[in-house]
Symmetry: C2
DNA sequence: CATTGTTTTGACCGATCGGTCAATATCATT
DNA sequence: AATGATATTGACCGATCGGTCAAAACAATG
């Protein structure tokens, strides 16, 4: 019914797979794993249902592949955090990056959210394993910032949760946000306002001096 | 398979309905509207499937009834906000109330979240109608607080979104939070820490003086 | 052209979906 | 005990679910 079909038969497997993944991400993110149907994915991809299974093997394999792809997209975030970093710059970049990722991959963000809502049946190992270690290492650095007096003494885990929730909100709750603000969608100016708002409130709330965007205000 | 059956045949319709609503809230919150099945709800309620339909009419009627119940639970929040109120007290109570509601009705919170994720097919009128007005009236008061110098000059809508997202996170993302913190569930002490953290960061971030819990520290 | 390997796809499978219905069971009133 | 209203529930309906399969279409090599 929708566009984005897998026409142009001269293209290779990669293109067809990307087409399927894109359609599947839309359907899974909207209806969750159980609520999504292969038929709906096939229709959106413009392919017969049997073709989806030929390329992806099974509904579950397709789903976990999408989950892994989304996790890898988030991997680059907060990579360059060190005890010597400037908390203002790092947290500010953290906020902006998460907002941008949420806008770039809205379906992927919702897919992840639906998975968590369902109790994370496919991700609980990841959450209590890799992601837990990831958070622990970042939390340790934030703890050092507090000890160095660079910011207030706060629970780093809760700070990370705060930034996660505040930023992901605009991807996962876009239906609510646009409904309340009375907009069709968020434009660039809206996103810039959101980023500045979150930076101002969260950095100030943590006792972090705002990163000086113009270190000497040349001329 | 699970407990919470509708035994005790001497009880009336009300008890059976509550039993069905409770079971349905669990199933819908976990799998979303499309992913949930009446059979699963019936099993969890300990009733035959036909009985669910006898009491609730249809899957959709049952679902919207649950949605409306959850919306009414949130209605009491931020009712007593006035331009003369103390922002610190009001925002602090707002945060605590939302956290408590999320803990009291975790399934209802997830139900709402799943509905928004799906694009709010049953709630878009409510979101752009009643809720929008609700937000607008509260935003107007917050705006007055800013003008009176009681707090920083911030977009009130974004402030409301921030508190919503930060608090609901602990209800809807409980699977992620517990997985990362390595806990089975959040206890009272955890919740108190979360409330204090959010109050401190958000109030400070808004330039709001913290409400003085002990106005004279009598003895 | 013949042959081999890869894609494509309609047809089909048992299971489950939401929903209907009629037969039965229970209950209150006479 | 008889009667009418209300609850209960197994059986069933057409539709759809995830998945299988074999026949057909296609591509590449000899």
């Amino acid at each position: 019914m929708t566009a984005e079909t897998a026409d142009q038969d001269n293209v290779g497997r990669d293109h067809i797979e990307r087409c399927i993944l894109r359609a599947a991400e839309q359907v899974f993110s909207q209806y969750g794993y159980r609520g999504a149907s292969l038929q709906a994915i096939a229709d959106k991809a413009g392919l017969p249902k049997a073709n989806i299974l030929y390329y992806m093997g099974s509904k579950q394999a397709l789903y976990v592949r999408l989950l892994n792809r989304m996790m890898s997209r988030w991997n680059a975030v907060l990579e360059d955090i060190t005890p010597e970093s400037d908390p203002g710059r790092v947290l500010s970049e953290f906020i902006r990056t998460k907002i941008v990722l949420g806008q770039r991959y809205p379906e992927g963000s919702k897919l992840f959210a639906a998975e968590i809502l369902a109790g994370a049946p496919f991700l609980n190992k990841y959450l209590s394993g890799e992601l837990r270690d990831w958070v622990a290492s970042r939390a340790a650095v934030i703890r050092q910032w507090s000890n160095q007096g660079k910011m207030d003494d706060l629970d780093p885990h809760l700070l990370i949760f705060l930034i996660w929730s505040a930023t992901q909100h605009y991807a996962e709750y876009s239906a609510q946000v646009t409904g309340i603000l009375g907009k069709e969608a968020l434009d660039e100016a809206d996103l810039e306002s959101i980023c500045q708002f979150l930076e101002q409130v969260i950095l100030k709330g943590c006792g972090v001096p705002r990163p000086d965007a113009s270190p000497a205000t040349p001329r």
